[in-house]
Structures are given as C-alpha cells and as structure tokens.
Symmetry: C2
C-alpha cells in the first residue's frame, strides 16, 4: 500500500480503479426532470457510466471524470433549484476490497484544469490517503492532507477549517479542481487514495452563513 509509484506505469484508469461516484439531489418537485436534463447535456466522452439507486458510478481518466461532474452539477444548478451533490473520487483500489493491481505498480497523473462554470459552490471536503506504511519509511496521512489544504488555500478559493472537513467556496469548477488536485497529488506517493465532498448550490441559507 505504501509503495512509491513509478511514473512509467502503463495501466488503464479502469485497471488502476480510477473513478467516481456522484449523487445529485435537487430540492424541487420536478427533480427528476432537472437531473435527467443535466445528465443528458453533460459530455461523458471517455467515461463508462453505471447508474444505481444511490449514485452514478463513473470510470475513466481524471480529466473526463472532472469535466463530467462539473457539467452535471452546473447544469442542475442552472435550474435555480437548491442542489446538493455528493461526490467520491477513488484511485488505487479497483473493486470493493480487492486492491490487486497490475505488477507494474501505480499511476502518475497530472492535475486537471477545468473551465469556470459561473456557478457558486460551497463544499465540505475530506481526503483519505490510505497508506499502511509497509513500503515507505514515513507514512503520515495527516502530512498529505495538510499539503492538500495548503494547495487549496493558494488556489483563490475561500477556505475554512472545520471539524473533519475543509470548507471550500468559489466557482464550482475551481472547487472540483482543488478537490481532485489533492486526491491526484496524494496518489503520487500513496496507492489507495479516496476523497469525499458534499457540495451545496443555490442554498437559501448561504447569505446567513457565508463569511
């Protein structure tokens, strides 16, 4: 689990378990139409999608995952409805508990830049580098999390420390970009990295809580 990942790795995103789960909630009577419309208008090029009762599972490379999630959430938000989106990104552990990988090791990935959406988002974000320390001299999951938060603070987003999460505010695309950057960079030294974010858009309580 703690193996340093070579940059020469050649596995596909699916073989390395790179993917996401997305749950979209639209707080309006016509939620089904809003969600369907957002899904149909988003560009899913390069992705395999599987829709379930709780979430949609997305498998593919990081730029495709990020573009699709940004477009779906932005599309639903442009309805004007209060929307929450729950997104989980994972890498390095295909399947549920089986982390068998091709023998060539991990996967180096570049951070992704997204086109701004004009949609304001507030997110609560948690990053989990799952390093058991067996292959590295100094596993320290809090060090990796702290580095990701420092990157977030330099991004231009409004960043607040909260219990268990970091709150990010700004353009939806930049929020997703920063969340994914933390996940991608941690993944350069830790095989199995997951990250979770809950995003709120068009919240009627935003004005009373924003700082």
């Amino acid at each position: 689990m703690g193996t340093i990942i070579p940059e020469t790795f050649t596995a596909t995103p699916a073989e390395f378990g790179i993917g996401a789960r997305l749950t979209l909630a639209v707080m309006r009577d016509d939620y089904a139409a809003v969600i369907l419309d957002a899904l149909q208008q988003a560009d899913s090029t390069g992705l395999a999608l599987q829709t379930g009762v709780v979430s949609t599972y997305l498998s593919g490379a990081e730029p495709d995952l990020l573009r699709y999630v940004s477009q779906v959430v932005a599309g639903a938000s442009r309805s004007g409805a209060h929307v929450t989106a729950t997104v989980q990104f994972s890498r390095g552990c295909p399947g549920e508990v089986t982390c068998t990988l091709p023998p060539t090791g991990g996967l180096f990935a570049e951070v992704v830049n997204l086109t701004p959406t004009g949609v304001h988002a507030v997110a609560e974000w948690a990053l989990y580098p799952l390093d058991d320390g067996t292959g590295s001299a100094s596993a320290d999951h809090m060090r990796d999390i702290y580095a990701a938060i420092e990157t977030a603070k330099a991004s231009g987003l409004t960043v607040h420390s909260e219990h268990f999460v970091t709150r990010l505010e700004g353009d939806l695309a930049l929020v997703l970009q920063v969340i994914a950057a933390g996940w991608i960079v941690a993944g350069r030294t830790v095989q199995h990295v997951a990250t979770h974010a809950t995003l709120s858009l068009n919240s009627p309580s935003l004005n009373s809580h924003a700082s």
Copy 2:
C-alpha cells in the same frame, strides 16, 4: 496513529473528536419545512449541534449520534418525499488536521443498538481506518474494512459489493447501526477512523434496481 487503544481511556467524546456531519436533501418544493420538522422532532439529548450551509455538525457520544441521525432521516422520510442523506462519522482526530489527543490515548466504545424505524433505506458505505503503521507491526486498512463488511453480511441486511463502496439495504436503523459498528470496531485498534455513507430513501427508481 497506529497505537493500540487502552480500554481505560477517560477522554470525553469531544476531546477524542467523536462526531458526525449530516446533510439532508428532500426532493420536494417544501423541503425546508420537511427538514425543519424532522430536526425539531428528533431527540438531540447529549449532542452539541452546529448547522452550516453544507451540513450539520454533531458532537457527542456514539449512542446519541446514532439515535439522532436515525430519527432525523426517518422523520424526513416519513413525509413520503424522495430523500438523500449524506453522513460522515469521525473519531480520533478533533479539528481539521490537528490530531492532538490527551496523553492517555484512544477511546474504546461499544457498538450501538438502534430501535427499528420501519423506514427502508439503501446506502453506499465506505470505511477509512487511517493507520500510518507507525505504532503497530501490521497496519492493513483493507483487513479492517474487510472485517467490517463481514459483520455487515451477518447483520441481516442485504449487502452488495460495488466499486469503492458496499451497498446496504434494509431498515434505516440497522443500516446506520452496521455503518457505525464498522467505524467503532475499527476504532479500537486505529486512532483516526472516518466513515462515509450516502443513503437513499423513497427512491422512485428503487423497484427497477433492487435485487
């Protein structure tokens, strides 16, 4: 991080960072009234609550956290609306990145039993034991996750393996009980453990996906 936790630990739940974050989404025009009603009818005894734009932060002991989350989600679901709930439980790392604990070590907790709700839930669940291996001879986060999934399979819930998550179906109370049990039991040998679940209730697509 990998220190074995003595059963004699005397810190309070707040000192050990035991808490949850809950985001409730109700897919109906009157969502605000449904959420407010569910919050007012739930028993928050023993908990400190802090409501934000994205989630409500709950601090307190495991039985109080579980009872409150179960009652809030069940209450909103009894409106008949399609509801999603995103819940994060965390222990062993108060604050955002500072994991300073009282010098007496970790906290042993009993698993919690909840009263059945009569509300059917489908959840996607992920468990993250954040053991850096520095204090234990054999840190293995997948071993702890696998043990939690075996417990889930013995609980009477319907359990399915999915990419990145385990899907649990059954009474909302039992779903939450199993999620928390995995988190609590992993926390007996790993200081910092987080778990995330996204729950879907009254989903109109349930019949076409349930197995």
